[in-house]
Amino acid sequence: MELKELYQEIILDHGKNPRNKGKCTGYSHDAQAHNPLCGDKVHVYLKLDNEKKVMDISFEGEGCAISLASASILTDILKGKDLSFTKKVSEDFLSMVKNKTKITLNSLTEDQITTITSLSGVQAFPMRVKCATMVWHTFLSALGKKNN
């Protein structure tokens, strides 16, 4: 049953108790997005170190379990990582969801890979793909949006 793969324990947990919610203090970059068809919203805040490393990351937003879980997982996994690495993870994530490829970055722990892969259930639900991907696109766009 595909529904169970969509709403895995990990997702439900992240959906109900999203990590890194709020505005992280001293953020240097941010971006927001929303899905006009369903009303989902997300705002990503980043504190970048010399444009090299994600020192801190957080998000605000409302939406379905999938979109909240995806935001929570993203922030959890990318916090403290090098920029180039976060970009690679984001691309791999988007490719996983759209093209059903696997995540195999060796700088992620097995746990982290399991977590991020839990979102691959949306593949079977085309109308829900955007719920999972929106925050990742928003993160990538935040990288380019310096906050003055």
């Binding site: 049953m1 595909e2 529904l3 169970k4 969509l6 709403y7 439900l12 109900k16 068809l37 369903c38 009303g39 989902d40 919203k41 409302e62 939406g63 379905c64 379990a65 999938i66 639900f125 109308m127 829900r128 719920c131």
Partner: protein
């Protein structure tokens, strides 16, 4: 035909969804089509198709006659006073855009007021927004009350001597509130203000008598009324037909075309530019026949019974919050479940074959007012049964299971 058991008239219900029978509760979005309508469509294309009104050969004559006969049928069905008051459009959205554009071109100036409500679908707001943006008009919103209705006094209070038109929904596609159109029209008439009624959710579910309602404009989407896609009706009272300028320009709607000037045909042709949806119009006559065979009053009674049944069952469920409690509710039931986002509800219900819609249903203003981004909506069509509602309720229980609450 037995009104309690119409699924066999609608081929879509032969489908299994995820191995389960389809429980279609998304009719406010678009209704399914009876076999008679689908067959008429293909039959027309197979044996009678031609363009309308332009050629004199046998096929064109037949097509033109059938096309115009549908206009006559609609005149009668909606009790319009004149056949030319029935204008064919692409849908309710185009109908409202047509009025906003043509009426606005002639009558709306900077500072003039357009009065709508917080209940309106985007298609009864955005076209007026264009007049705000391009002409400096002002849009006033009559507020919705805690029951999800707009009180007539609230509309009255917002009328000023700058109010040029009132545009208002017949039935809210979110709270289900049935608006007292006749009273609103009477009140507006006293002040000489024309009224446009967005009947998109009204016409499929209730008896509509244009002369009785007395409104100036009434818009309908045929695809929500068991008819084909891509077709709408604009009812416009005779007095406006000569008065308003045409909307789109093209073949058929002209009278005389010279290099320095163009004059236009009389209504309805004036408002029907270009090749029309001949086959769809003809097939829509079968949707009207279908409705008339059952009787629109019987349809309303049947749908209300199902709606009432659903309302009572959902009300008993503590984790469910039903949106709005209007005195008169028509055909839609929006709700939320504590701890589960409407999008997730829709996905989980779908797994049980239950088709509902989640989102703001093109009513962002209303959702902002309610303070929620999205709701789940079950909407009723003539084919729904109490069993459908039982399956809906079970599927809702399943949502809680999946979410472990």
């Amino acid at each position: 035909m037995d009104i309690k058991n119409l699924k066999s008239e609608f081929p879509i219900f032969k489908q299994k969804i995820n191995g389960k029978p389809l429980v279609y509760l998304d009719s406010a979005n678009s209704s399914q089509k009876p076999k008679a309508v689908i067959d008429r469509l293909s039959n027309f294309y197979e044996t009678e198709f031609s363009n309308v009104g332009r050629s004199v050969h046998t096929l064109a004559v037949k097509a033109t006659n059938r096309f115009e006969a549908t206009r006559d049928l609609l005149k009668k069905y909606f009790n319009a006073q004149h056949r030319e008051e029935i204008i064919f459009t692409k849908g309710a959205t185009e109908s409202i855009n047509l009025v906003a554009s043509s009426f606005g071109e002639k009558y709306i100036k900077e500072g003039d007021e357009i009065l709508i409500t917080e209940l309106e679908h985007h298609s009864n707001y955005v076209p007026w927004h264009f007049l705000r943006k391009n002409k400096g008009a002002v849009i006033k919103f009559a507020p919705v009350n805690k029951d999800g209705e707009v009180e007539i006094d609230e509309i009255k209070n917002l009328i000023s001597n700058k109010t040029k038109i009132i545009a208002i929904t017949h039935i809210s596609n979110v709270t289900g509130a049935v608006m007292p159109i006749k009273k609103i029209v009477d009140m507006a008439k006293e002040k000489n203000i024309p009224v446009l009624v967005d009947g998109t959710q009204g016409a499929p579910h209730m008896h509509i008598d244009m002369q009785d309602l007395g409104c100036d404009f009434y818009v309908v989407s045929c695809h929500k009324m068991y008819g084909p896609n891509g077709l709408g009706v604009l009812y416009a009272k005779k007095k406006w037909l000569d008065d308003l300028p045409p909307y789109q320009g093209g073949g058929g709607m002209i009278d005389d075309v010279k290099k320095d000037n163009i004059t236009f045909a009389d209504a309805p042709t004036k408002f029907e530019a270009g090749t029309m949806q001949t086959a769809e119009v003809v097939a829509f006559s079968e949707a009207i026949n279908f409705i008339e065979k059952l009787g629109i009053k019987n349809i309303a009674a049947h749908e209300n019974e199902i709606l009432e049944y659903a309302f009572e069952k959902l009300k008993k469920n503590n984790s469910i919050n039903i949106i709005g409690s209007p005195k008169n509710r028509g055909s839609v039931l929006c709700f939320t479940i504590k701890g589960i986002h409407p999008h997730d509800i829709a996905t989980i219900l779908d797994d049980d074959g239950v088709a509902i819609r989640a989102g703001h249903h093109c009513c962002q203003i209303l959702h902002d007012k309610l303070g929620i981004a999205a709701t789940a909506r079950a909407s009723i069509g003539v084919y729904n049964t109490k069993e459908d509602i039982d399956i809906l309720c079970k599927a809702i229980d399943n949502c809680k299971k999946v979410f472990q609450i």
